[in-house]
């Protein structure tokens, strides 16, 4: 089975960078809260989406549209309107999380290909097969919680193609099942398409260090020699039982390059790169390294070894300049 490389496109420039550097497909969102990266200045209006589709299709690549937040009753038509536009534009697939929205898409556009978003929180083949039977999904993106043997078990028990995250920001929690951001700020990925939103962030220089706060809640305090990162709620330092530490997760990124041969053996269909909010330079570099790595592993999985140059390149792009194998590697848990 071919192993596809799926890269993030937060803008037209990033989309072209991903395609030019070897992405098999890119994923994008419209410019509103219908997707889980609803950041100011990011994403596509209809004209840009059409241009992006043309660029990708002219080169034989695909464009997927993320519509992976949960529609609210009063704004339901914003989500169905986005499905309508996706179908009209000729998107190669829409990535959905909400069952009600899937039902709408199937009914209105039976030919539109559906992917289950990571925000749909399906971690077992029973859940994946539910969406297959009822809505005919073709692919599911698994939350970053399963070990590779568990992923393989899912692959073996479903006809649905499985896509895994390979690189980028790391959600420690099951995607779609995390309300920490709305508990702190009122906005969560599920409803608002944001986590730890920039508008709630405050930085203050104090005599005891640089403080980062989210809606007033102190997430971390940095000493003179410490590098301050974006204050994502779950990656702050907190006190538990008299100890101050990264109680949930360090500021680190996912990088599974070392596991690529094992990932290939599980029979997954695609590897996804996180980071629609990152720069075109990030997209260029990550796509280049992963294209080379996937080509190498497909040629000879047994002899595959990530080159030091690839790892150095990816480390430069990682949050906190460090990386982890995440849940795919059991000891992380």
């Amino acid at each position: 089975m071919p192993l596809e490389l799926i890269c993030p496109a937060g803008s037209l420039v990033s989309l072209k960078a991903a395609i030019d550097n070897g992405a098999d497909a890119v994923y994008m969102g419209f410019r509103d809260n219908t997707n889980a990266r609803a950041f100011p200045g990011l994403n596509f209006d209809e004209a840009q989406a059409a241009e992006g589709l043309r660029y990708a299709h002219d080169r034989g690549r695909k464009v997927l549209l993320a519509l992976n937040t949960y529609p609210q009753p009063d704004t339901w038509s914003r989500w169905t309107g986005a499905i309508d536009r996706a179908a009209k534009l000729g998107m190669d697939a829409v990535i959905l999380a909400d069952a009600g929205l899937m039902r709408y898409a199937v009914k209105q556009y039976p030919a539109l290909r559906l992917h289950l978003s990571v925000q749909g929180s399906a971690t077992s083949y029973e859940a994946v097969n539910f969406y297959r039977e009822h809505f005919g999904i073709q692919r599911a993106v698994l939350p970053r919680v399963l070990s590779l043997p568990q992923v393989e078990n899912v692959v073996q028990h479903t006809d649905v193609e499985i896509e895994l995250f390979g690189f980028g920001g790391l959600c420690v929690m099951v995607e779609g099942r995390c309300l920490l951001s709305s508990y702190c700020t009122g906005e969560s990925p599920n409803t608002a398409g944001v986590c730890s939103p920039p508008k709630a962030v405050q930085w203050t220089d104090t005599p005891t260090g640089l403080e980062s706060r989210l809606n007033g809640v102190l997430l971390d305090r940095y000493g003179k020699d410490e590098k301050a990162g974006y204050p994502t709620l779950c990656k702050g330092r907190f006190e538990v039982g008299g100890e101050t530490y990264y109680a949930i997760e360090e500021p680190t990124s996912l990088n599974t390059l070392d596991l690529l041969p094992e990932m290939l053996k599980t029979g997954i269909a695609a590897i996804k790169i996180e980071g629609r909010q990152r720069s075109p330079a990030y997209v260029t570099q990550v796509t280049k390294v992963w294209r080379a790595a996937i080509d190498a592993v497909k040629k000879n999985a047994d002899a595959f070894k990530p080159t030091p140059a690839w790892q150095a390149e990816l480390n430069k792009l990682s949050e906190g300049q460090s990386h982890t194998l995440g849940a795919y590697h059991r000891p992380w848990k």
């Binding site: 949960y70 529609p71 609210q72 009753p73 009063d74 339901w76 909400d98 069952a99 009600g100 929205l101 039902r103 709408y104 749909g120 929180s121 399906a122 971690t123 077992s124 029973e126 859940a127 539910f130 969406y131 039977e133 970053r144 919680v145 070990s147 568990q150 078990n153 420690v172 929690m173 099951v174 779609g176 099942r177 995390c178 309300l179 920490l180 709305s182 508990y183 702190c184 700020t185 009122g186 969560s188 599920n190 409803t191 809606n215 809640v217 102190l218 997430l219 971390d220 907190f238 006190e239 538990v240 039982g241 101050t244 109680a247 949930i248 997760e249 849940a327 059991r330 992380w332 848990k333």
Partner: protein
């Protein structure tokens, strides 16, 4: 409106769990949710024990409901789920969509739990068509959004709202309690047993923020809608879910029952037996950790 006792989210000793449900038989509850919904490693009560408790509570006049595990990772998690579904004597709360698949295939009516992410009419309608007879909105849902959703409900569907307790906010493959003790999850030594109300996480300036409960993260604040019962009633909510805590749970149930019966809201008395500060921001469409003062008025 009537009262439900939510599933026990913490891990207690076998004796403590059995004693808790012994007492619960006498509380003014319409239904009790049973079973381990958080962590598959917690086994001091086996499924057979939970089923026995369900029989006892049924005999005491309560509806017993079995809550399924929220995060399914392994084949053995699925095996447990299939056993719960196939027992058939009790209703099941589906807490992820794999359980929905198995329950609808088996033709067993079910409760759609709060982690199924029902945010709109269409998804609720999908669940109704599959056999859901009762549902819980996500705990972050505001009164305004719930009101929009409840302007029309699928026929026969009852609504239950999480109305008291620390809010279950997130689930992970990682165990944060084991991490605190520098133990691997597979050899966690069941440290959750030492923290019957979870492990408090505070900010570096000492503000209580979250509660670590194994793979689950909860709020440090205690969500309480005791001041909102008339509004809940008006919306057409059928039941209120009260989430178990170690101490004084019977008094919590009684406080809600008294308020339902028309007695003045006992918010201050309730505050004295809560394991943390009161919060209700979600209900008012704000950050969950906020607290309105109007309920004391």
């Amino acid at each position: 409106m009537n009262l439900s006792l939510g599933p026990l989210l913490y891990y207690w000793s076998r004796d403590d769990m059995l004693a808790f449900y012994e007492e619960a038989q006498h509380w003014p509850l319409a239904r009790v949710y049973l079973g381990e919904s958080v962590c598959s490693r917690r086994h001091l009560l086996r499924l057979s024990d939970w089923l026995e408790l369900a029989e006892k509570l049924t005999a005491a006049g309560k509806e017993a409901v079995l809550s399924s595990q929220t995060l399914i990772e392994s084949e053995s998690d699925l095996k447990t789920l299939r056993r719960i579904v196939s027992d058939g004597r009790f209703r099941v709360e589906a807490n992820e969509w794999g359980a929905v698949r198995l329950l609808s295939e088996a033709g067993v009516p079910f409760v759609a739990g709060p982690t199924l992410n029902v945010y709109n009419h269409e998804t609720l309608d999908v669940l109704a068509g599959l056999g859901a007879q009762r549902w819980l909105p996500p705990v972050e849902m505001s009164r305004a959004t719930l009101a929009s959703l409840l302007d029309h409900l699928p026929a026969g569907m009852e609504t239950e709202v999480f109305a008291y307790g620390r809010l279950p906010l997130a689930y992970s493959a990682r165990c944060f309690t084991a991490r605190h003790y520098n133990l691997p999850k597979d050899d966690c030594q069941f440290r959750c047993l030492d923290h019957p109300d979870g492990l408090l996480l505070s900010t570096r300036e000492g503000e209580p923020f979250l509660t670590l409960n194994g793979i689950q993260t909860q709020s440090a604040g205690v969500y309480t809608l005791i001041g909102e019962l008339p509004a809940l009633h008006e919306l057409g909510v059928a039941s209120l879910r009260l989430s178990p805590q170690t101490h004084h749970m019977g008094r919590v149930v009684e406080a809600f029952q008294a308020t339902l019966a028309g007695e003045p809201v006992a918010a201050d008395a309730l505050a004295r037996i809560m394991p943390g500060p009161a919060v209700d921001g979600y209900w008012h469409g704000r950050a969950g950790l906020e607290h309105s003062t109007e309920q004391h008025a």
